[in-house]
C-alpha cells in the first residue's frame, strides 16, 4: 500500500452530489440462465459503434442498439463444448477491416470469430488455464492481449495467428491475472492486474521488432520465435486485495479492487531503477456494495465517464476527468437485484448496458431534458 504524504490525500468523490444526468431503463433481455460475464461495444470500427457483443456460458451473441430502446439480435455463436464458459469478449479486426469477435473463457482457448462471414476464423491455444480478459490495441486493432489464470499475459496477432510475446516469468504475476489494458497512446505499454493484489506495467519497446515481424510472418505460426517478457517496468501495490479491473486514463491508471471504490493513480517511475517507483493516488470514485471480485467497469470512447455495476444490481456513473469526481448518475431498478458483472458505455455515453449474474442484459438510455 502506497504511503500518502501529508497534503497529498486522494480526492474522494461524494455520493450525495445532485445528479447531472438522468437515465432510464429502456430494455431488459433474458439471454439464458447462465451468467453473462462480459458485454462490450465495438469501438474499433466506426461503422459499428452501436453494435455490441455479450458472452455467457458457451454462447457469444452480437446485438445492435436501435433507436427507442430496442435491441436487435444479429448473430449468435455457440461453442461445441457445453462446458465452456466464456468470461471475456472483445472486438478486433483484420488488416482488411474485417470485424472479428474474440472471446475466451474457462477452456483457455481464444476463439476468433469472423463476424463478417459468420464463421470461426481461428482458435488459439497456448494458455494453460481460463482466460479472464482479452483487450484490443485500438491503435493496431489486429493486436490483442489476453490475461489468464496461468499467471501470464499473452500478446497475439489475430491477422497471422501468432503468439508474439508472453508476459510472465521472474517478474510476472504471482497469481491469476484478472485484467489487462493497452495504453491509449503509447503502443508499447500495457497494464495488467490480478489476484496477487498488484498492478504491473509492461513495456514491449525492446521487443517491438517481434511485433512488427508478426505482421509479415508467412511461415507456420508455431515457428514464430515467441519471446518471454519477464520483467515489468513498474509494479504497483495500490490495493490490498484482488485487483479485478484496470484501465488507462492517459498516463494515469484506474483500478478497482473489492473495496467499494475505483482508484485513479499515477505511476511515478524512476529513470535508474524502474521497478522501485512510487504511486501517487489521485482520486477515488466510490461504488457502494461493490465488494465481490470479477466486477468490471467500463468507459465511454473518450473516457469522460466510467460506469461500474455492483453486487446489488445498481450502476454508478462517474465523471472521470473532473476534480473532485462528480457522480453523473446512480442507476437502480426494483427488478435489478443480481450482481452486475460488466457494464458497457456507448460511444458518447448516452447508452449504458449492464450484464448480470442472472443472465439478463439491461439497457439504460439517457433522458434528454
Amino acid at each position: 500500500m502506497a504511503r500518502i504524504p501529508v497534503g497529498c490525500e486522494p480526492v474522494v468523490g461524494s455520493l450525495n452530489t445532485p445528479k447531472k444526468k438522468d437515465y432510464k431503463v429502456t430494455n431488459r433481455l433474458q439471454e439464458g440462465k447462465r451468467p453473462i460475464y462480459a458485454v462490450v461495444f465495438n469501438f474499433i470500427d466506426s461503422r459499428f459503434y452501436n453494435v455490441f457483443a455479450t458472452v455467457g456460458g458457451n454462447r457469444v451473441t452480437v446485438y445492435r442498439c436501435l433507436e427507442g430502446g430496442t435491441i436487435a439480435v444479429l448473430q449468435s455463436y455457440i461453442d461445441e463444448d457445453k462446458e465452456e464458459s466464456f468470461y471475456t469478449v472483445t472486438w478486433a479486426c483484420d488488416i482488411d477491416r474485417t470485424p472479428f469477435i474474440v472471446a475466451g473463457g474457462s477452456n483457455g482457448v481464444i476463439r476468433v470469430i469472423d463476424a463478417a462471414n459468420e464463421k470461426l476464423h481461428k482458435s488459439y491455444v497456448g494458455h494453460g488455464d481460463s482466460i479472464n480478459e482479452i483487450k484490443t490495441q485500438s491503435l493496431k486493432p489486429s493486436l490483442i492481449v489476453s490475461a489468464c489464470k496461468d499467471e501470464s499475459v499473452r500478446l497475439w496477432n489475430v491477422h497471422t495467428g501468432i503468439c508474439i510475446l508472453i508476459f510472465a516469468g521472474a517478474g510476472g504475476h504471482r497469481n491469476e491475472v484478472l485484467s489487462v489494458d493497452f495504453h491509449p497512446s503509447d503502443i508499447n505499454r500495457i497494464a495488467s492486474c490480478g489476484m496477487d493484489n498488484t498492478i504491473k506495467i509492461w513495456s514491449m519497446k525492446e521487443f517491438w521488432t517481434y511485433v512488427e515481424k508478426s505482421f509479415t510472418w508467412t511461415d507456420l505460426p508455431s515457428k514464430f520465435p515467441t519471446k518471454y517478457v519477464q520483467f515489468p517496468i513498474f509494479i504497483a501495490s495500490v490495493h490490498t486485495n484482488y485487483v479485478d479491473c484496470t484501465r488507462w486514463l492517459g498516463d494515469f491508471v484506474l483500478s478497482k479492487s473489492v473495496d467499494n471504490e475505483i482508484v485513479l493513480w499515477e505511476p511515478i517511475m524512476r529513470e535508474q531503477s524502474p521497478c522501485e517507483g512510487s504511486v501517487d493516488i489521485l482520486q477515488k470514485y466510490p461504488v457502494p456494495d461493490c465488494d465481490i471480485w470479477f466486477i468490471k467497469f467500463s468507459c465511454d470512447f473518450h473516457y469522460y465517464a466510467a460506469a461500474a455495476g455492483n453486487r446489488e444490481g445498481r450502476i454508478y456513473v462517474w465523471e472521470l476527468q473532473s476534480c473532485p469526481p462528480v457522480l453523473i448518475a446512480k442507476l437502480s431498478h426494483p427488478y435489478s437485484k443480481s450482481p452486475i458483472r460488466q457494464t458497457a458505455m456507448s460511444f458518447d455515453g448516452s447508452t449504458i448496458l449492464a450484464c448480470c449474474e442472472d443472465g439478463t442484459i439491461w439497457r439504460w438510455d439517457m433522458v434528454s431534458s
Binding site: V125, G126, G128, I166, E206, S222, K227, F231, S273
Partner: protein, 385 residues
C-alpha cells in the same frame, strides 16, 4: 513372465491387444531417439576437452571418465585407486532404436557415482548374492568386478535370482559382455524394437529355458507378437503423426515437420533475451566501468551458453572464451586489461593453473600477431594504392 504366471489363460488376441496398448507408451521413445541422434550430429556446446589435461591425468593414473555435470570428458573428474568414479546409466541405451544400437559412448553416460572401495567381503551364500545383484550393476563399470560377477551368476538355472525378471535382465546384460554393464538387453537382442517389446520377448525366452515343462501356449503368442512387432515400427510412426505435440515453453501446437525434425529449439537458451536481461542486470551496478561491464557481459553470456558449471570447467572456459572473443580483447586495450585482472582473480581463487595461464597467453599472442600482420597488410595495401 510375472503376468503370464498369474493369468495363464491369456489368449493370443488379448496378448496382441495388450501389446498394442503398450505401444502408446512407446511413442515418446521416438522423440528421445531424435534427440539422441541430434546430440551426436549437432551438439549444443563447443567440444569440451582439454586433451593435454586428460593425457596428463592418464599418466598419473587417473581414469578417463566423464564428469557428472557436463556429461563430457574434461579430465577434471578424478578416479584414483582410493576413490572410484562409476557411471550410473538411466538405461538410455535401452531407448536406442536401430542404427545406433551397437554404439556405446562412455562419455555420454548421464550420471556419475563415486564410492569408496568396498572393504566388505563378498557374500558366499547364493541367496545373499541375489540381494547384492543390484550393487554389482552399479560397480560393473570396473571390468574386473564385472567379470567376477558373470562367473557367479551367468547360469540362470543355478541362481535363485532368476525368478525375478528384473534381475534376469541384469544377468543377461553381463552375458552381452559389455564392459559398461549398463547396456540394456534390448539393444543387442532386439534392436529396432521398442523397449517394452524387447523386454517381454526376453522374458518369454527366459521362461522357456528355465522351465521347459511349462512350455504351454507360448510359441504361438510369441509368433504373433513378432508379427505385431513388424507392424509396430510403422504403427508408432503413424501414431506419432496423429498426435498433436506442443512446444514446451510457449505451448503452441507443433507442425508435423517440427515434430519430425531433429531440431528442438525449446531446450536452448534464448540468446537475445538472455543477453538483454544480463545487460539490464549489469546496468544496475554503479561502481563498475563500461569496459568491465562489457567483459562481464561477454563472460556471463559465454558461461551461460556453454553451461560452465563447476570449478573444473573454468580452465577450459578461459581458453575457449579467448578463442571466441580474443580478437575483441586484442582490439581494445581497456577490455584486455579487464581480462587480465579477471585472470588474476581466477588465479587468486585457485581456479586456474600455470599451464592454462600459459595457453591463454599463447592464444592471445596469436590473436595479436594476426592483428599486427593484418594491420601491416593494410598499410602495404595503402602504400601500393
Amino acid at each position: 513372465m510375472c503376468h503370464q504366471n498369474s493369468c495363464p489363460s491369456v489368449t493370443v488376441e488379448e496378448d496382441v491387444a495388450a501389446e498394442e496398448c503398450l505401444l502408446v507408451y512407446c511413442k515418446p521413445v521416438e522423440l528421445y531417439n531424435i534427440l539422441q541422434r541430434r546430440a551426436q550430429q549437432n551438439p549444443s556446446f563447443l567440444p569440451r576437452c582439454l586433451n593435454y589435461k586428460i593425457e596428463a591425468k592418464w599418466k598419473t593414473g587417473y581414469k578417463e571418465i566423464s564428469c557428472p555435470f557436463c556429461l563430457m570428458r574434461c579430465g577434471s573428474f578424478k578416479a584414483t585407486e582410493e576413490y572410484k568414479a562409476i557411471n550410473v546409466s538411466v538405461k538410455t541405451d535401452a531407448l536406442h532404436s536401430e542404427g545406433s544400437a551397437g554404439v556405446i559412448e562412455t562419455y555420454l553416460q548421464p550420471f556419475g557415482y563415486c564410492s569408496r572401495p568396498r572393504k566388505r567381503k563378498r557374500p558366499e551364500d547364493p541367496l545373499e548374492k541375489g540381494k547384492y545383484v543390484y550393487p554389482h550393476v552399479l560397480e560393473s563399470a570396473l571390468p574386473a568386478l564385472a567379470t567376477e560377477s558373470i562367473e557367479g551368476e551367468k547360469d540362470p538355472s543355478t541362481c535363485q535370482v532368476s525368478h525375478n525378471p528384473r534381475t534376469g535382465e541384469y544377468c543377461s546384460s553381463y552375458e552381452n559382455g559389455n564392459a559398461n554393464g549398463m547396456d540394456h538387453v534390448a539393444t543387442n537382442s532386439n534392436p529396432g524394437l521398442p523397449v517394452a517389446r524387447a523386454q517381454s520377448l526376453e522374458d518369454i525366452d527366459y521362461a522357456q529355458s528355465t522351465w521347459p515343462d511349462k512350455n504351454v501356449t507360448l510359441p504361438p503368442a510369441a509368433k504373433s507378437r513378432k508379427l505385431s512387432s513388424e507392424r509396430s515400427e510403422s504403427r508408432s510412426s503413424t501414431l506419432l503423426q496423429k498426435r498433436q505435440f506442443y512446444h514446451s515453453h510457449r505451448a503452441q501446437p507443433m507442425a508435423l515437420e517440427q515434430v519430425l525434425s531433429d531440431r528442438d529449439s525449446e531446450d536452448e537458451v534464448d540468446d537475445d533475451i538472455a543477453a538483454l536481461e544480463d545487460r539490464r542486470m549489469l546496468d544496475d551496478f554503479v561502481d563498475v566501468t563500461k569496459d568491465e561491464k562489457q567483459l562481464m557481459h561477454l563472460w556471463n553470456s559465454f558461461v551461460k551458453k556453454q553451461r560452465v558449471l563447476a570449478d573444473g570447467h573454468v580452465p577450459w572456459a578461459c581458453e575457449a572464451f579467448l578463442r571466441v572473443h580474443g580478437k575483441l580483447l586484442v582490439q581494445s586495450p581497456a577490455l584486455f586489461w579487464c581480462w587480465r585482472l579477471f585472470m588474476v582473480k581466477l588465479w587468486n581463487h585457485g581456479l586456474l593453473d600455470a599451464s592454462t595461464m600459459n595457453n591463454c597467453s599463447i592464444i592471445i599472442e596469436k590473436h595479436q600477431d594476426e592483428a599486427s600482420t593484418n594491420a601491416k597488410l593494410a598499410i602495404t595495401n595503402e602504400c601500393e594504392l
